[in-house]
């Protein structure tokens, strides 16, 4: 973790605080409870076929529901925050908005990557494929992931923070337009996706399954909040360290040039004798 002393911001050597530690503990407890609910207490998806009497369903693979779907929601949320902050960057032009946008994009991209991975792991036993080219929801999600990875790469092209912030904000606002496509694709292009239609919208989930899914949303939200808090603080310290470095360089440069040298360079007589110049 960055040392804040270097940035002249005090003696703390961590981005943590008593409240953030509390949040971290709550997050860890929530993850543990979710694990118990998802992998031990909820039932596998097993149904009996009314005509053949055979068992069918998703069996234990259904447990991925409690991880995959909450990850999708926090991905949308992160990118939504990034979009709002990007508008802030373009309107207010302050570093606070830029650090917020950068933080949200970075965390959102991690979540989006996890969505693709968990979806693939879920798809193998249930769909019979790891990946299906042409599935409109998979493709729009992959495009979202690639665009925000590009956003993060673009931020590193130039060292000028203002230029970086403005360009990235525009890319984020374009990339975020993909989210409605991802979300509504199963309704708009029903015959071009293996994904199911909305379960919550049609209330085809109940009891402990529903509770566990909602608990997954809360847990993912806590993880997002904890990551966001720390990454934002790191980003803010990075910005402070850059500003501090620039200020220190100016002071150092000024100290290299004595007042007498400056006066002589403009044709004025130095006010007093200077060491090394006195005959």
């Amino acid at each position: 973790m960055a040392t804040t002393t270097d940035a002249g911001l005090g003696e703390r050597d961590t981005t943590g605080s008593p409240r953030s530690r509390l949040l971290g503990i709550a997050t860890l407890i929530a993850v543990a409870i979710l694990g118990v609910l998802a992998f031990a207490l909820t039932e596998p998806d097993v149904r009996i076929h009314p005509e053949t009497g055979e068992e069918f369903g998703q069996f234990d693979a259904v447990r991925m529901l409690y991880v995959h779907v909450p990850l999708v929601i926090v991905t949308y949320l992160s990118y939504g925050i990034c979009a709002v902050a990007s508008i802030g960057v373009l309107v207010k032009r302050t570093p606070w908005w830029d650090v917020t946008a950068h933080t949200a994009a970075e965390i959102g991209t991690i979540f989006c990557g996890l969505v693709l991975v968990t979806g693939s792991i879920w798809g193998r036993p249930v769909w019979n494929t790891w990946w299906e080219w042409g599935d409109v929801r998979l493709m729009t999600t992959l495009v979202l992931f690639l665009m925000f990875t590009g956003y993060l790469a673009l931020r590193r092209i130039t060292e000028d923070p203002r230029r970086q912030a403005r360009r990235a904000a525009v890319v984020a606002l374009v990339a975020v337009l993909d989210i409605p496509l991802v979300n509504r694709s199963v309704e708009w292009w029903e015959n071009r996706t293996l994904h199911q239609r909305s379960t919550l919208g049609e209330l085809k989930i109940e009891d402990l399954t529903l509770f566990t899914l909602f608990f997954g949303f809360v847990t993912a939200g806590l993880v997002l909040a904890w990551l966001f808090l720390h990454r934002f603080r790191v980003g803010w310290l990075e910005r402070a360290a850059i500003d501090h470095g620039v200020a220190a360089a100016i002071v150092e440069r000024q100290s290299e040039t004595s007042d007498a040298e400056v006066r002589r360079s403009v044709g004025e007589q130095p006010e007093g004798p200077e060491e090394g110049l006195v005959p």
């Binding site: 055979e54 790469a153 239609r197």
Partner: protein, 191 residues
């Protein structure tokens, strides 16, 4: 950089030419040189290529959207020589048989009141079950499917679908035993 002083006696510029050399008129600032990072530029270029690849791949598959069985039957003459995807619900009854020396499963797919017999080469999907919609990839073949006589209620219309790729399109119902199984003819609840 501090300019090199050009001094006369008493540190003052000594003549007019010196004054010209030591020009204190503020010069326009040079535009700031933008430092770019080649590795980051390469990463952006790679991501752009990946994005274009994904879009091309998606557009390339545009012709392979899912036909419902009823639509595939209706457009049979048009689709006769082409490879396409078809979605439908397998009916109870399954025959395991060898087709052209390859293991295959033969069953009947339905959508609405329309039926189509299928000979699927290779192993079916792990969760393949009657009543659970599947997406199959293949094409129409003239003639009845091998072993069709052993099916419960075959289409037996002189054609069958010869497929080699099967994925399951599960529904959106997570109510366990309370879940409704999509009957043949009710495609609205297919997830």
């Amino acid at each position: 950089m501090v300019p090199e002083p050009v001094d006369g006696p008493n540190g003052a510029p000594n003549d007019e030419s010196d004054l010209q050399v030591f020009d204190l008129t503020p010069a326009p600032t040079r535009p700031e040189r933008i430092r770019r990072r080649p590795a980051a530029m390469a990463a952006v270029a790679i991501l752009l290529v990946a994005l274009v690849f994904v879009l091309l791949r998606t557009l390339g598959d545009a012709s392979l959207f899912f036909y419902e069985v009823s639509e595939a039957v209706e457009r049979r003459s048009e689709l006769a020589d082409s490879r396409f995807r078809v979605v439908g619900t397998p009916q109870p009854g399954l025959v395991e048989i060898d087709v052209d020396g390859e293991p295959a499963v033969v069953f009947t797919l339905c959508a609405g009141d329309v039926l189509a017999d299928v000979a699927h080469l290779g192993d079916p999907a792990e969760l393949f079950q009657p009543g659970v919609p599947v997406v199959l990839q293949g094409g129409w073949v003239a003639g009845p499917a091998p072993g069709v006589a052993d099916l419960w209620s075959p289409a037996a219309d002189g054609w069958h679908l010869r497929t080699d790729h099967m994925v399951v399109k599960h529904d959106n119902d997570y109510r366990g035993d309370g879940a409704e199984l999509a009957p043949c003819g009710d495609q609205a609840s297919i997830g």
